[in-house]
Subunit: 181 residues, 2 copies
Amino acid sequence: MTRLSVLAHALLGMLSTGEMTGYELTRAFDVSLANVWTASHSQIYPELAKLEAAGFIRHTESGPRGSKRYEATAAGRDELRRWLAEPPQPQAVRSEALLRVFFLWMVPPEESAGYLRRQAALHREKLAAYEALAQAIGDCADGPTRWSRISLESGIRYERAMAEWAEWSVARVAPPTASSG
Amino acid sequence: MTRLSVLAHALLGMLSTGEMTGYELTRAFDVSLANVWTASHSQIYPELAKLEAAGFIRHTESGPRGSKRYEATAAGRDELRRWLAEPPQPQAVRSEALLRVFFLWMVPPEESAGYLRRQAALHREKLAAYEALAQAIGDCADGPTRWSRISLESGIRYERAMAEWAEWSVARVAPPTASSG
DNA sequence: ACTGACATGTAACTTGTTACATGATTCG
DNA sequence: CGAATCATGTAACAAGTTACATGTCAGT
């Protein structure tokens, strides 16, 4: 194994938090990790096999329906810490939504304003969901939960900034007329 | 051709703005589009060939060094407009930087604070660059430029929100002591 | 018996990265 | 004539998506 993928480190991180099955990991990517990284089961199972072969995780018991519980080994946790200490390199941006904005001059103003309004609505929706979640988990200051709260805060600020941007853009494209104000 | 990729639409969009060679498109992804979408020449040249075969672009003259200038056909511009009108679907999130934050409980507080400070610095740097660029292009209200200014604004607000988030996180992890304040 | 959630895997395909490979033109 | 930039391509690989495929267990 030349070098571990980001997904591999995500799995390693989850399995350092506690024992989990592939199925539970799959659900985690749909729920707690959804704000941060996504992966499907078809990617997860082969990656778990690779990580086990490389000695970074091991599977302990076998559960009821042929399920396997995995946990990180000492080598796995070391690799995770090494990865966490790597210098951050600026990441390539790829936003389909923003790319569309770049080419909105192609369509009439009503249509581009509509696009931006839909974007604003989507961001407002996500913002509300994140804020409700933050309210629900409260001001936790302990272990892993603390850090998931900090990640969530990033999502909150991101969605708020993007909602405000979309609303600002609408105003710039279709300024409120005297009659409408 | 089953369905066009996002990259294909990016190329179609650029070639609706004006004639360009593959080389010029490659540079555009490094400069004006860098905030929005990235692609390397090894992806661009084959994609141009596919778009031409599908009749969405055509190449006009051949330049000095075997260069080919492409432009969008009417069918290409129609396809671009169709794509712009597609209902936006929420996109999968994948942020390696944020994933690391999720697992920062693994390392000592000094190290996690250091990580967040580096993140803050990177975002502040990008923010400054974007703001300088915004200052340089000014308050343009015409055609494509107007929309690139709007895209840039998204980058500015994003970097600012993320810088502020990182700084907030540092304070949460390593609160200023009475002696340091 | 049937439905739904649990549970794991593989195959085919698309997208994106890194490295390889070549040649033309311009400037100093 | 040498280096930088212009200019276009291919090949091998890594990462991610969608669809296919199978079987278990709990509840009704």
